[in-house]
Amino acid sequence: MADFLVFVTIVLSAGIAAGTPILYGALGEIFTERSGILNLGVEGMMLIGALTGIVASLATDSVWIGALAAMAAGGLLSLIHAFISITLRGDQVVSGLALTIFGAGLSAFLGFPYVNVPAPKFATLPVPLLERIPIIGPIFFQHDVTVYVAFMLIPAAWFWINRTRPGLHLRAVGENPAAADALGVNVVLTRYTYTVVGGALCGLGGAALSLAYTPGWIENMTTGWGWIAVGLVIFAAWDPWRAAFGAYLFGAISRVVFDVQMLPTAGLPQFMKILLSPEFLRMMPYAAVIVILIFASRKAVRQRVGAPAALGQPYTREEAEA
């Protein structure tokens, strides 16, 4: 029993650590999508953020500056998407895809000299006193700063979106831009702002990956986690708390997968051995996304909780007047 408790503690603790980069991406995408802009470039922005974090912290010897630079890089990339989808009214799906491919290509090209270069990382920083609480302490309070910042960001994002005046404007712009415009909310400015905020959070997510969870740069190191974040936003019905739950769940899944690999497979039947091979275990998080999206879709149909009504639609006044 005690062994099992230790195992669960380890899995949950590691799940929170692994889920943090996904969580940043998901929170960023929630902000962006709540304003009515669909940005599928999360993966690309996370990759650029991860590389920028490494390069900047190597140059300045400070992981903090690295994380800030990653945010700036993510924000800058998302500005391209904002310009194409808001000002030029281009197709948001295609622009987001382009952003992801561009981010992957650019980071792989520029990151070539940094592959496997030892890089600084955020040190583990247990919270005094709280870390001593049995079970809770090891799970929640023995991490690095990026995890704690994410903890604080969840309620902050929820509060901002649901309980403040700018948050009300944000939701209005995402649900009914014409009405928000009539009430004097600057639709274009709001959408630009939250697209860039979302991009910055995705960049930070990349830095949380390259400066904390798996320190160092490898080509395509996000391995689809940005896309998992985009999927989580749908699963979470655009709510930060549910996104956090989903992100930590995925972190835990990817960690369990790692642990199960270590189990002895000697006495097991052949198909179990195949299922427990590293390749099949690595499929699990991606398969889990599909399964969860299927359940989320059933629920969404039943409860009619849906995307922001104007998600993905460009806004112009002429069309609104017509």
């Binding site: 281009g90 622009s95 561009f102 650019l106 090209f109 520029l110 390749e279 599909i290 299927i294 006044r317």
Partner: protein, 418 residues
């Protein structure tokens, strides 16, 4: 009206940017924009190249020479372009219906799996039986992999974007499992690859032996074309188009055989061009192609007109996936002759760029694939990070083109003052 348009976009100090819908688009503009995008993207691409310490001008020159500067270079460029053509045709079809199949990469791997399953099961059967079976199996492998996101989209409303992408990672892991597990070559000393395909399971290369069948094919074709020109077509313009097309086909095919004789380019190239012809006829001349286009333009109207969205979404995803599967089959049977872990350098993702750059036009896919294949091949010329340079330039072209397309639809005005 005038004042409301002016306010539609943010106003920066002193001037504002306005987009006015174009009433009529100049004929040359839709062609000039992709060409200009290409140039702008190549200029922008100089920045990261310089950051990496590469002289962009000599870099581009070297890339061009490696990709297009010699007969060998061109044939290698075509080798890279073949999977892009096949997968790009499929992606373009899906995008026409606004079905966002971004799982071509995974479908390509599953097509390779299907084809090899056949090839390793009956390695000794004659090529004329085995190769068509491998093509069918490759198509089915990709089609089934594409049917999953298609069915989830059609029946449950699950976003096909995310599911098709997740399936990419699963397919790549599946192939990784095979090449270090049950399919690993026992003589490979632990290297993650399968045994070589048997001779009858490899696609033939284009050689001088093809002259005779090609001439016979062209002769039969000439009779058919003459019949159409004389009897079936009543418009002189259509007649001229058909005649020019046929002469072009004859010159290009015979010249192509002469040029590619003894090089590595294989049957997959012919297959891709034929597939482009089939898709082009399918889209513009058949009832189903009309349905696909109408659904893409206005799904609701199409449904009122009695077209089945669900059936078409699944069908399009299956054909799209099948084409990507065929790309995987041709890459394995024509180029690599065995499966390695992660054997595709992102062909499935580049296929998305190919489809969009080609404006979802089948013949455009062929041309753009040759160009982007040249970027893959050309980036081998630059020391450093070869694969990534091509990918980055491709993505840059993609980005600039999306922005540039606005110029086709809108007239951009800069207003000074208020």
């Amino acid at each position: 009206m005038e004042s409301s348009r002016g306010r539609a976009l943010p106003r920066f100090r002193g001037f504002s940017l306005r987009l006015e819908p174009r009433l009529d688009v100049p004929r040359w503009l839709p062609y000039a924009v992709p060409a200009a995008s290409l140039i702008v993207a190549l200029i922008l691409g100089m920045i990261p190249m310089m950051m990496q310490g590469i002289n962009p001008l000599t870099g581009y020159r070297d890339m061009f020479l490696v990709a297009f500067g010699s007969a060998y270079g061109i044939s290698e460029t075509i080798m890279k372009a073949i999977p892009l053509m096949l997968a790009g045709l499929g992606v373009a079809l899906a995008f026409r219906m606004l079905v966002w199949n971004i799982g071509a990469e995974g479908q390509l791997y599953m097509g390779a799996f299907g084809a090899c399953l056949v090839a390793y099961t009956w390695p000794d059967s004659p090529a004329w039986v085995l190769l068509p079976c491998m093509m069918a199996a490759g198509f089915v492998g990709g089609a089934l992999w594409g049917a999953i996101p298609g069915a989830l989209k059609a029946y449950l409303g699950v976003s096909e974007i995310i599911t098709s992408l997740m399936l990419n990672y699963i397919a790549i892991q599946w192939i990784s499992y095979l090449v270090i597990g049950p399919w690993q070559d026992p003589t490979s000393l632990g290297f993650p690859r399968t045994t070589r395909l048997s001779d009858s399971a490899t696609l033939p290369t284009i050689t001088e032996l093809w002259y005779l069948p090609m001439v016979i094919f062209l002769a039969i074709g000439a009779v058919v074309v003459l019949f159409w020109i004389a009897r079936r077509l009543d418009d002189n313009r259509e007649r001229l188009k058909l005649a020019i097309g046929f002469v072009l086909l004859a010159v290009l095919s015979l010249g192509g055989i002469h040029f590619l004789n003894g090089r590595r380019v294989h049957l997959g190239f012919v297959l891709s061009v034929a597939a482009a012809a089939v898709f082009s006829v399918l889209l513009s001349r058949t009832r189903w192609g009309y349905e696909v286009r109408v659904i893409g333009e206005n799904a609701r109207a199409a449904e009122y007109a009695g077209m089945s969205l669900k059936r078409n979404i699944i069908l399009v995803m299956m054909i799209s996936g099948g084409m990507a599967g065929l790309a995987g089959m041709s890459e394995i049977a024509g180029n690599l002759h065995l499966i390695k872990r992660a054997f595709s350098p992102g062909y499935g993702y580049t296929a998305i760029i190919v489809a969009w750059l080609a404006k979802l036009n089948p013949w455009g896919v062929i041309l753009v694939s040759l160009l982007l294949g040249g970027l893959y091949r050309g980036s081998d010329a630059i020391p450093g990070s070869p694969k990534a340079l091509g990918m980055m330039l491709q993505a840059l072209i993609f980005f600039v083109l999306i922005g540039g397309e606005v110029l086709v639809r809108y007239r951009v005005r800069w207003d000074r003052g208020t």
